[in-house]
């Protein structure tokens, strides 16, 4: 399929290059973020009456997983408020890059803050952590406490604040958006799933990049920062670590950056750059979708109470089972499936490579599992949004006259059918991807991986519409 470049449309390009549209969206997001923290700290402890829970875990989550990730990949990261403060400090400016100072201007343009920050020597992120294992761990940790995190406004607030704090801290010690790239537990899975998005940032002509010795997209110039994600756009082959921050669009003097519409899932069949940490991210996400479906949407009260009673013996058992499933059973069985479908079974290294490669077939499966899970969760609970908009803290306010609106599930007759379509579609998508990945190597078959995906799908169907 020919890719069409959105930046060829002048209005689109102008809107993307101009800093204001993105800045305004980010400011709005930042305001929402701060209000969510305040509501969590000061408002009612009843989750469904507190803006922090309803805003973050129902509204934001719905937008993220049902729209932003599948359609725009890292579109959320484009407007995410979490790294803003750190970026301001690093850049010494709210909008636009640091002024390049000439000698005699220095005293005028440098504020105290700026000189303070310039005196910090930002380090590159340590080599051994240049992967997403930390993000994998962070997500697992949050997932273990999810029953509490999702229901206690105070806990949600503390976690949101910790995100901000860590992001600023990382920005004062390390170069660029280190938090986003290596720490943010959300960013990790957004990156994994952004590989399926029908949009990509790429360069138009790599020869132009090769000839451009300055590589301003990486180093920055008067029009924008050097890539905040530490990625060289000329080398992009996948969406995973491109934060879609649009800086390269601003800094490239040769107009060589394109934002293209492309076939969905295009990155999954790019054989290069597949990694074990990403493969495990796929297992973690798929497994969490299964566990969440059972714990939160299943009919088992004891399971919910267990997941909620953090620290108790029962909870320890739950945590152990959770980790064993996600880090043991799921990858273990997948390894078996890989083994059964490989020609060179004796070769450990080749087998491990195939394992990693095959795991990319679980990306569409996992994303669709999350969408199916979220469909019932979100439509059943989004009506909590109207009262908390009027009464964000649960203090009896009525800002918009919607405080008294009753909870009512939406679309309860259609949601199960939608979930079916999503899950079966995800299975077909995963199976097709598995075939393409298997065909990369001589003499492999995707049949065992497809069967694995089938069983996961049947399990999810049973949990969600059974």
């Amino acid at each position: 399929m020919k890719r069409s470049d959105l930046t060829r449309i002048p209005v689109v390009k102008a809107l993307l290059v101009n800093r204001w549209p993105q800045f305004i969206l980010r400011i709005v997001a930042l305001a929402g973020f701060v209000v969510a923290i305040l509501a969590g700290l000061l408002g009612t402890p009843v989750g469904s009456r507190n803006l922090s829970i309803v805003f973050v875990w129902i509204a934001w989550w719905a937008l993220l997983i049902l729209a932003a990730v599948p359609l725009f990949g890292r579109g959320w990261c484009t407007v995410c408020p979490i790294p803003m403060a750190g970026e301001w400090l690093q850049n010494g400016a709210l909008l636009g890059p640091r002024k390049r100072e000439t000698g005699d201007q220095r005293s005028e343009t440098s504020s105290n803050l700026q000189s303070l920050v310039s005196s910090l020597r930002l380090r590159p992120w340590p080599k051994r952590f240049r992967n997403i294992w930390l993000q994998n761990g962070g997500f697992l940790l949050l997932a273990l406490f999810s029953a509490v995190v999702l229901t206690q406004p105070m806990v949600t607030a503390v976690i949101l604040a910790a995100f901000l704090f860590l992001a600023v801290g990382a920005a004062l010690i390390f170069e660029r958006r280190a938090f986003c790239r290596y720490l943010c537990p959300v960013g990790g899975f957004i990156g994994l799933y952004s590989q399926v998005a029908p949009l990509e940032v790429r360069v138009r002509d790599t020869a132009v990049c090769a000839a451009h010795t300055d590589k301003t997209c990486y180093t920055g110039n008067e029009n924008g920062y050097g890539c905040p994600w530490g990625v060289f756009p000329g080398g992009l082959i996948k969406n995973t670590y491109c934060g879609a921050c649009l800086e390269c669009l601003r800094t490239c003097p040769h107009d060589n950056i394109a934002i293209q519409i492309r076939p969905v899932g295009a990155d999954l069949t790019v054989a290069r750059g597949r990694k074990l940490d990403e493969a495990f991210k796929a297992f973690i996400m798929l497994g969490s979708a299964v566990v969440y479906s059972a714990v939160m949407l299943g009919p088992w009260g004891w399971l919910k109470t267990t997941a909620y009673s953090v620290g108790s013996l029962a909870w320890l058992g739950y945590a152990l089972a959770f980790l064993l499933l996600i880090l043991g059973a799921l990858p273990g069985l997948f390894y078996l499936a890989t083994w059964a479908g490989t020609a060179q079974r004796g070769n450990r290294r080749a087998l491990r490579q195939r394992f990693t490669a095959n795991a990319y077939a679980l990306v569409p499966l996992g994303l669709m599992a999350w969408i199916a899970f979220s469909l019932s969760f979100v439509f059943a609970n989004i009506s909590y949004l109207w009262p908390v908009m009027s009464d964000p803290f649960g203090w009896g306010w009525d800002l918009f006259g919607t405080a008294a609106l009753n909870w009512t599930p939406y679309l309860s007759r259609v949601v199960p059918a939608l979930q079916t379509l999503v899950l079966v579609g995800g299975l077909a998508w995963a199976a097709g991807t598995a075939r393409k990945i298997a065909a990369e190597k001589r003499g492999g078959t995707a049949v065992p991986v497809i069967i694995y995906c089938f069983f996961i799908t049947v399990g999810l169907l049973w949990l969600l519409i059974g």
Partner: protein, 177 residues
């Protein structure tokens, strides 16, 4: 030709599986009463099965705090004060499996307080499992079953002319015309 017939077969099968009318069982409708105990955060019993056409009376007893019951698909709701019982009567005229949820904020896990009402067989589930099976068969039928065949399709070749390494993170360029 053979390919086309296979496609046609699959498409017919998909529609058959998705929409074919199936008998719904022959049980004579009766009226039945189910007592549901609601406590934070579960219904007991959590799964209730009735036959299509039954006249169902649900007695919802809230044992600790106030709880409610909202029945998906039927869009019916009742609430029960603590220690009291509320009654809901309806005809189970829609078949399938329906979630019911607590409709009164009763504590932290309230949004997850969920049970199931089964009215006859869960055709949606069976149909979707059959559809999954069809999808899997479709892809498997196009895949070598044994592992010693030639690769099926040509893999995109990396561009040999330019290879730019991302100095920091080792991302390399492959696909550009």
């Amino acid at each position: 030709m053979k390919q086309q017939r296979l496609w046609l077969l699959f498409i017919v099968a998909i529609f058959g599986v998705a929409f074919a009318p199936l008998p719904l069982g022959t049980a004579v409708p009766t009226s039945r009463t189910v007592r549901l105990e609601a406590s934070s955060f579960e219904f007991s019993p959590a799964v209730v099965a009735v036959n299509p056409g039954d006249q169902v009376t649900i007695e919802l007893a809230a044992t600790d705090v106030m709880h409610g019951l909202y029945l998906d698909g039927y869009d019916l709701e009742i609430t029960a004060e603590p220690g009291q019982t509320a009654v809901l009567t309806f005809t189970a005229d829609k078949t399938g499996t329906f979630r019911f949820r607590c409709s009164v904020t009763c504590g932290a896990l309230h949004p997850f307080m969920i049970g199931k009402l089964k009215v006859g067989p869960n055709l949606l589930l069976w149909r979707s499992v059959a559809l999954s099976l069809l999808a899997v068969l479709f892809f498997i039928s196009r895949e070598p079953l044994f592992v010693n065949r030639e690769p099926l399709s040509v893999v995109r070749k990396p561009n040999a002319e330019y290879e730019i390494r991302n100095t920091e993170h080792g991302i390399r360029n492959t696909e550009h015309p």
